[in-house]
Structure formats: C-alpha cells, structure tokens
C-alpha cells in the first residue's frame, strides 16, 4: 500500500522521529473518533440480529454472513449451498473498478506528465483546468455526460455525420458506460498525485540514460516510471477503492440493471430491504477484501525493493 510504498526508498528518514507522536496525534484523534468508532459500530452490527425494516436487535447472530455465503432458495428453507449472487456482484464491481482505474491511468498519466513539464508558472493553472469541472455537482455532470453519449446525442450525430459510423454507437446502458462513469467521476484523483510526483522528477536521470543510448520509451519505462511510482500507486488507490463502492454515476450511465457493491449496500440501508446487519456485513467483507488486496500489493513491493 502507499504506506508500504512509502516505507521503501532513500526518501525515508528519521529526521522527525522525536516529534512523530505529536505529528500523528491530530490524525489519530480525528480518525479514531470520526471513522474508527463508526466502523466499530458497523462491525458489531454485522454480528447482530436484523430488525425488520432497519435497525438491529441486540442478539448475537451470524445471519448476515450466512445470507452472504449461503443460498437457501427463494423461501429460505432449503439446505445451504454456495451463494454466488453476492460473489458475482463483488466480482463485477472489482472488474469495473479495475477497468476504470486502467482507463484513468492511460489517460491520466500522460496528462499529469504533460502538466508537470509545463513552465513552472503555468503548472498550477493546468492543475486548476483539470479540477474546475468538479465544481459542478456529480449528478449534473453525469446527466450531461449521458446526454452527450445517447444514441441520438451530439457524439453519435458527429460520428455518423463525418461518416465514421453508419449506425449510432450504443454506449448508454452498457458496461463500458459504467466504466466511463467511474472514470469521469475520479479522473483528477489519478492526475493530481502523479503530477505531484512527476513534478519532482529529476530529468538529469533521463539525460544520463539517454546519453548511454537508451531509447526514449525505455527511459520512460526503466527510469521515469519507477521513480514516480508512489504517485501512480496513490492515484490508482484513489480511483480504484472509491470506485468499488460508488453507484451514482455507474447507475445513471449503466442503467442499473445489475447491482454494484455500492448499490447493494445502499439498498440495505435505504431500500425496501432495510437489512442493516447484512449491509454492515457486506461492508466488512468489502473492507477486508480491499485491505487484503492492498497488503498483497505492499508485500510484493517490499520484496521488489529488497
């Protein structure tokens, strides 16, 4: 994880070791009270009995986890067989979030690099240029995006108008639209961390490599990418993890024919189901999953560094 990525490299030091407790105290207090406490409440809730139409009954129960992993038929009276429904929903979300992250990286890295190599005084302006659209509410942005992508929308009119397509491209209500929605929701979260890292990059390293006859794409791959890796990792985390739980943009653009993790959990708290323990359990499973993914990643990175 970024902390893991953070652990390696020559940039770590113990310059502020004595002050570290004081430096971390604000974060510990704020997050301990405002995030850890609510998460602890949800962890407890996931092991309680559900109260019909929301809420919990204070009796220990594994019902929520049973519901997640055990299929007992339409009427809940068959013996337990493996429940694929929720695993399938999780897998779909991971896949969509992964694709959206890749899309963001492919578009976001060159953009961040381009911004970081502008003359110093222009850089902040470019950063603002990338973030200004996010002053407009997500709902409004997404609805407008949908308007553009419609079968009879401006994009298709343009593409058929110049003769590139004969038939309008059906984008809305497809998986690709979901990925596009996620990509559009989180793009600056990829661009800005990479920008902050590349801006620091010492181009003398590229010069040196090039003097030793490395082609420029080799320089990019072997010299530049490894040294700005923390920025790329940070960007990928900031796009991938929130994408997993997101539902508004993918639902609007993708048609919401299938649950994503976010809409499944939302339904447990705000929908007819009103099954708080199940919503809490699904969140805890999601949380564990993300932690494991990040840990494996941190392990590999630590290995690669040593």
């Amino acid at each position: 994880m970024a902390g893991g990525a953070a652990t390696g490299g020559s940039s770590t030091s113990d310059t502020y070791a004595e002050a570290r407790t004081w430096l971390l105290l604000p974060a510990w207090v704020t997050l301990g009270i405002l995030v850890l406490a609510p998460v602890a409440i949800m962890l407890v809730y996931s092991f309680l009995t559900k109260e019909f139409r929301g809420g919990v009954i204070w009796e220990f129960s594994l019902g929520a986890y049973d519901q997640f992993f055990c299929s007992r038929g339409l009427f809940g009276d068959e013996p337990c067989s493996i429940e694929w429904t929720y695993i399938q929903i999780f897998w779909r979300s991971i896949w969509q979030a992964g694709a959206a992250t890749l899309l963001s990286l492919v578009i976001g890295f060159p953009t961040a690099y381009f911004i970081a190599t502008r003359p110093p005084r222009q850089r902040t302006l470019w950063v603002f240029l990338v973030t200004i659209p996010y002053w407009v509410n997500l709902l409004i942005r997404t609805v407008s995006m949908k308007f553009l992508l419609r079968d009879e929308g401006p994009l298709n009119d343009f593409l058929t108008g110049i003769g590139l397509l004969n038939e309008p491209l059906a984008i809305v209500n497809t998986n690709f639209a979901v990925q596009l929605g996620l990509f559009y929701s989180y793009l600056p979260f990829m661009v800005l961390p990479i920008y902050a890292a590349v801006e620091r990059y010492n181009f003398a390293l590229s010069e040196a490599a090039s003097d030793l006859y490395a082609p420029r794409w080799t320089v990019l791959r072997r010299i530049l990418l490894p040294s700005v890796k923390p920025g790329i990792v940070a960007g990928c985390i900031l796009v991938f993890v929130p994408s997993l739980g997101s539902f508004l943009a993918p639902d609007l653009l993708g048609g919401a024919r299938n649950f994503m993790i976010g809409s499944l959990i939302e339904e447990q708290f705000k929908g007819n189901a009103g099954n708080w323990p199940f919503g809490a359990a699904a969140s805890m499973i999601l949380l564990t999953m993300v932690l494991i993914i990040l840990l494996i990643f941190a392990r590999q990175q630590a290995k690669a560094e040593s």
Binding site: G3, A19, V39, W135, I140, I237, G279
Partner: protein, 269 residues
C-alpha cells in the same frame, strides 16, 4: 546537450492525450452551460434562448435556500480541506520522516480507512454515533464528518510527493544549524508545495461534492448544494440547476484567473 535530436521531456502523443482528457472533462459542461439558457423547462429539448432560469435562481421561491446551501458548501469545503490537508501533511511527515515505528502501518491503515468503507455505511454509523454521544446535528457535524473523509484524499498526493524528496535537503539545512522546525517549514514545506496544493484541491472537490454522508449528518434547516440538488430531483431536474452550475463554474474560473494574475504580478515586482 544541444546536439540531442529531440527534447527528452517531450513524449509524442502526450499532448494529444491531454487535450483529449480536457475535451472529455469539459464536453458535458458545455451541455450544462448551453441548457442553462434554455427557454423550456426541459434539460433535453431546446426551445430557444432565455435568461429565465438565471432570474429564477435569484428571484425564484427557492433562491434563498440555494443561496444558503451554496454558502454552506463553500464554507465547509474550505475549512474541511484546510484542516484535512494540515492533518495529512503532519501525518505524512511522521510516517515518511519519523523513522521506523510500530504504529506506522496502523497509522497508514487508519488514514486510508475512510476510502474503504462505502459512504452509506459511514453515513448511518456516524449518525448513530453522533446520536449516541448526544451531539446535536448541524453545520458542525457536517464539517467534522467532511474533515474525516477528506484526509486520505489529501494524504495520498502529499505522501507521493514527499517520497520523491530526499531527506538530504533537510539534513543539509540542519548541518548548517537550522532547527528541526526551520528545516520543516523552510526546506521541506516549500519542496512539498505541489503535493500540498494537489491534496488540498482533491479534498476541496471531494467535500464540495459529498451527498450521502452530508444527507445523514446534517441537521434541520441546514442544506448544502448537493443535498439541495438531489432533493430537487424529486420534482424533476430543471434548468435552474444548470444555471447554478454555470454560475459556479464562472466563479471558479474568475477565482483561478484572479489568483493567477495576482501571483504573476507578485513575481514581476
């Protein structure tokens, strides 16, 4: 150097991708702007040019509500982003410059926790928590919740930047008799600036756009722009929201231009 056939900093195609990126980002906003001038109450059928929705924003029955919602959103986003960025900078310094210590991974895990929990869960749990400790809901509860979930968004760009800065700079400063505090404020912080600015901006837009958590922790009579906009959708999306969005864009463009002009003037004198 001059004998190089090409500039090593320039990769072919990157400029093109950047432009594509901007087109993707701004194309929907052009729709928003155009339809804010629509004479029809529809956001998809064009009926002619009109300023009626701008008039509606200022004189319509909901104008006072939207105005206070906009003010709340900005005050909250500014304060939350400032506090979150400060906390994130201090934490990054401790985690990356504080040597090896046991709580290091735990601290990082805690900082990224708000990212990993779906918003609706944080929302319901936070509401339960505030009620349990008898905290009256209002602007303050929104602010506190926003500070908490903004921290990871500020932290990651900042730490990505700090990892690119060798500690030799501060060591050199301290060898020259700078105190640790001076090494931090005069050497590390200025080097960190692009990371801190990036972190602040991300925290700001995350706070400005938050709906789910805000919707649960807000108190009676307090609206933010997203809660007002989502609420209004129950009656159908009207172009007055497009007009509000266009004006917000205008404000942001003016603010950015001003700050750019001012900073340019500073450098000249």
């Amino acid at each position: 150097m001059a004998s190089k056939k090409y500039d090593l900093r320039v990769y072919p195609g990157f400029r093109g991708i950047t432009l594509l990126c901007l087109v993707i980002l701004y194309a929907p906003l052009i729709v928003v702007m155009v339809y804010s001038f629509n004479a029809s109450p529809s956001i998809t059928n064009w009926e002619g040019l009109s300023l009626r929705w701008y008039a509606d924003v200022f004189t319509g029955p909901e104008s006072a509500k939207f105005k206070s919602a906009a003010r709340n959103s900005f005050v909250i986003a500014l304060i939350a982003a400032t506090v979150a960025t400060t906390i994130a900078t201090l934490s990054a310094t401790a985690i990356l410059r504080g040597g090896k210590f046991r709580l290091r991974m735990v601290s990082f895990g805690l900082i990224s926790l708000p990212l990993m929990v779906p918003e609706i869960v944080t929302a319901v749990a936070t509401l339960i928590f505030f009620n349990a400790i008898g905290f009256d809901r209002g602007l303050l509860t929104i602010l506190l919740a926003h500070i908490a979930f903004c921290i990871p968004f500020a932290y990651l760009p900042i730490s990505a930047r700090m990892q690119g800065i060798e500690s030799t700079y501060e060591q050199a400063a301290m060898d020259l008799y700078a105190t640790r505090r001076q090494a931090f404020t005069r050497v590390l912080l200025p080097l960190m600036a692009p990371g801190i600015v990036s972190g602040f901006i991300l925290a700001f837009i995350v706070s400005l756009d938050d709906f789910i958590i805000t919707n649960f922790v807000k108190g009676a009579g307090v609206e933010t722009l997203p809660t007002a906009i989502f609420g209004a959708v129950k009656q159908g999306i009207k172009p007055n929201i497009m007009a509000i969005s266009t004006m917000l864009l205008g404000v942001s463009v003016v603010m950015v231009t001003l700050s750019w002009l001012i900073s340019r003037k500073d450098r000249k004198t």
